[in-house]
């Protein structure tokens, strides 16, 4: 299994290749896409992309954590987190390799 890391620049270059926009415009579109998704999640609305997966929001209540270095107990404030549920299509593709 390879272990390359794909970044925004690689996505921009894929968009450039597939749609024929300039690399600059392609990079802007990748950024806009991620911004629009982040805005939706920050407003509390999940993002559901058919055939890819869903970014859902979960509210976590307060719990007691521990500082692993000192062993000291500290309260962890309630927070909202994103969970990603991959679609069956994505799961199958990843598993098939």
């Amino acid at each position: 299994m390879s272990s390359k890391t794909i970044t925004r620049a690689d996505l921009a270059s894929a968009v450039h290749g597939a749609v024929g926009l300039s690399l600059n415009d392609s990079g802007d579109l990748v950024d806009h896409t991620l911004e629009i998704m982040s805005d939706s999640l920050a407003e509390g609305a999940p993002v559901k992309l058919s055939s890819f997966g869903s970014f859902m929001l979960r509210e976590k209540g307060e719990r007691i954590g521990r500082n692993p270095k000192t062993g000291e107990e500290v309260p962890i404030s309630p927070r909202r987190v994103v969970t990603f549920r991959a679609s069956h299509i994505l799961k199958d593709q990843v598993n098939r390799g």
């Binding site: 299994m1 390879s2 272990s3 390359k4 890391t5 794909i6 970044t7 925004r8 690689d10 996505l11 894929a14 968009v15 597939a18 749609v19 926009l21 392609s26 802007d28 579109l29 990748v30 806009h32 896409t33 991620l34 629009i36 998704m37 982040s38 939706s40 999640l41 920050a42 609305a45 999940p46 993002v47 559901k48 992309l49 058919s50 055939s51 890819f52 997966g53 970014f55 929001l57 404030s77 309630p78 927070r79 909202r80 987190v81 994103v82 969970t83 990603f84 991959a86 299509i89 994505l90 799961k91 593709q93 990843v94 598993n95 098939r96 390799g97």
Partner: protein, 95 residues
Amino acid sequence: MTKSELVQQLAERNPHLYLRDVEKVVDTIFDEITQALSRGDRVELRGFGAFSVKEREGRIGRNPRTGESVKVGPKRLPFFKTGKALRERLNESKK
């Protein structure tokens, strides 16, 4: 938000593009991430988050109805970790 709503908002921010090209942009981005993960690559989108593949070893499972043992093969699962900037934005209103 659905994929078509994402396409619509992206088109509104880029009025110089044809809608069909905007659709192609969105499909290309998620196809590319899917392909990278199926090769076992990691996808790191700073500020948003990172996609990676987790390997699960095979195990002996049990059919809960019959109690029968079944072999579950090793598998690879896509995984997402929220980026720092997004994680902070999610909780801004609470600070």
